[in-house]
């Protein structure tokens, strides 16, 4: 196989390559200039939530423990007003075979690939999803290729991604590691075309349906344990699949009053395609480098219409600093005896701050944990940060500066969340939507209705914002 297919040529063929590797004709769902039938896209997969549960059960996936963090709740209450300090629970998704909730997505994608007679699956991901797909492929007897953005021009591998490389290789997958840059997508297209494997993308309907069981499970578990649904569920937010699937799952369980909160690590100021910045962030996912672009324009992924549409489902969007996540990771280990990875701890940091403001009988669920180990651990990340000249110290978390300073709180009372103005986000989304149209395109009523659903607003709101822009 030669890599020199030609960048322009392959990128020009992207739609056909993706269509061949996924078997979904997205054009049939279009209902307007911008509008498409989102629910039909998901329903046409033919999987009900019970069928997804059955697939996952056979794959040793799901049905994970819900753990109450009583010591952490006590720590919150020590610094809260009387009567305040909600109960914090965590859904231990690290209990899944490859150590994260991504197994739920991978189980469905691999099942689908096998049903269609593919000999293998391919995924473009530097994160847990790669290991999950490799693990599920191994169980299903399929081959697996994972394409990762893994190292910078100095050859320095991001330690968390190095651990993912190791895990994927341990499961028998072929791992292609690429240096920093969006052209990873070109490499992935070459792989899909050459191999004929199924595209196990994070953004297909299968990938989203796989997460619905997580939301459904946690709602039922809380109700069984506490007699009611959670008040708040916090999901770490990057590409939007986690939030979308969990929210849909909560709805399926009947938890319609549960507030869905997206949490991301704030990496403002760092450029995601910068060779220099690549290793100057201590988090590889669950951060604003993904969540801001994907919330304000989901259709930027490796499929034409993204099944992850987070702005439809989020009630609140908060950020936390790198330092606060490292702090709460240490607290979780030392007060609860749970050593877990950064993705879930991002939401736990947010939960700690938010719990302080809620009543003691209210219930917050941190929607995931992930495994940890060499490379993923705070020690690995902070040692690399120091090596690259980033200042690491204790202090006020508001002094965190992505790429330059990691400030770890000195006291639990300093943990806080920063709210992202959802109105501003909606404006950005609508701006992007208008920008995506041709000069002379007119929006129909169907489009306005679609945009209202996309932004969780109203047709009047959408019309008002668009009129302001034009």
């Amino acid at each position: 196989m030669s890599w020199k297919f030609g960048y322009a040529k392959i990128m020009g063929q992207r739609d056909e390559i993706i269509k061949a590797s996924l078997g979904i004709d997205y054009s049939q769902y279009a209902t307007g200039r911008l509008a498409f039938d989102y629910e039909r896209l998901l329903a046409d997969t033919g999987y009900t939530i019970d069928q997804v549960r059955a697939v996952q059960s056979r794959a040793a996936v799901g049905d994970t423990p819900l753990l109450e963090l009583e010591n952490i709740t006590a720590l919150v209450r020590a610094g809260a007003q009387p009567g305040k300090g909600a109960r914090i629970f965590v859904k231990d998704e690290a209990a899944n075979p490859s150590g994260s909730f991504k197994d739920r997505r991978a189980a469905l994608a691999v099942c689908e690939a096998k049903n269609r007679g593919h000999v293998g699956v391919a995924a473009a991901t530097s994160g847990n999803f790669g290991a999950a797909v490799a693990s599920q492929a191994a169980r299903a007897g399929l081959r697996c290729i994972v394409v990762q953005e893994a190292f910078d021009s100095q050859g320095i591998a991001q330690p968390e991604i190095a651990e993912k490389t190791r895990a994927c290789e341990a499961y028998g997958a072929e791992v292609i590691r690429v240096s920093v840059g969006p052209e990873l997508f070109y490499v992935f297209l070459c792989v899909l075309q050459e191999s004929g494997y199924f595209n196990a993308s994070l953004y297909t309907p299968y990938s989203i349906l796989g997460i619905e069981t997580l939301g459904d499970e946690l709602a039922r578990q809380v109700r069984r344990q506490c007699g009611r649904f959670p008040d708040l569920v916090i999901a770490t937010h990057a590409g939007g699949g986690n939030l979308t699937g969990t929210a849909r799952g909560l709805e399926q369980a009947g938890a319609r009053e549960t507030e869905v909160v997206a949490a991301s690590v704030d990496l403002a100021g760092l450029h995601m395609a910068s060779d220099h910045d690549f290793n100057r962030k201590s988090f590889t996912t669950g951060h604003t480098g993904f969540s801001m672009p994907f919330t304000t324009w989901p259709d930027r992924a490796d499929v034409p219409r993204n099944a992850a549409r987070p702005l439809r489902y989020m009630d609140r969007f908060v950020t936390v600093t790198q330092g606060e996540v490292f702090y709460i990771t240490q607290v979780l280990a030392e007060l609860e005896g749970l050593e877990r990875g950064p993705a879930g701890n991002t939401s736990l940091a947010a939960a700690f701050a938010i719990a302080r403001e809620l009543d003691q009988d209210q219930i917050i669920v941190v929607q995931e944990t992930e495994y940890t180990g060499a490379g993923k651990h705070p020690l690995a990340q902070l040692n690399l940060a120091k090596q690259l000249g980033i200042e690491v110290r204790r202090g006020d978390p508001r002094d965190n500066r992505p790429g330059r300073k990691i400030v770890i709180p000195e006291h639990p009372s300093q943990l806080a969340v920063v709210d992202i103005d959802l109105d501003h986000v909606r404006h950005s989304y609508l701006h992007n939507a208008i920008e995506s149209l041709d000069e002379d395109a007119r929006l129909s009523g169907v489009d306005i209705e679609f945009l209202a659903a996309e932004t969780r607003s109203s047709q009047d709101y959408v019309q008002e914002v668009i009129d302001e822009m034009c």
């Binding site: 240096s179 840059g181 490499v187 050459e194 910068s274 702090y327 030392e334 020690l379 770890i408």
Partner: protein
């Protein structure tokens, strides 16, 4: 003296996919100035010297060619030394819980 790696060894090869000047239009300045590099591991199809072009068979059975960079490439990611800024946190929060009477 060239170091030959025996046939069947687990190795890593490297390719330059896009040279400087061939990078995508949207990449920032610093990324634009370096090539897009690819690394992949597999089993050496025929003995080759480090630095030479070689062919591997990957775990999926695909054959790929590239510059032979490493024999039996090690996983070097680790934990590293304890970070003093984390080491005292446990004691601090336990002290708070002790004050509350929650632990002894």
């Amino acid at each position: 003296m060239t170091e030959f790696v025996t046939q069947g060894s687990w190795v890593e090869i490297q390719n330059i996919i896009l040279d400087v000047g061939e990078r995508a239009a949207q990449v920032p300045q610093d990324t634009r100035q370096v090539p897009l590099e690819l690394r992949i591991k597999g089993f050496l199809v025929a003995a080759a010297a480090l630095g030479d072009e070689a062919e591997i068979e990957t775990p999926t059975g695909r054959r790929l060619r590239g510059k032979l960079t490493t024999a039996n490439p090690a996983y070097t990611h680790t934990f590293g030394s304890p970070i003093p800024e984390l080491s005292t946190i446990g004691g601090e929060v336990r002290a708070i819980l002790r004050e509350q009477g929650r632990i002894r």
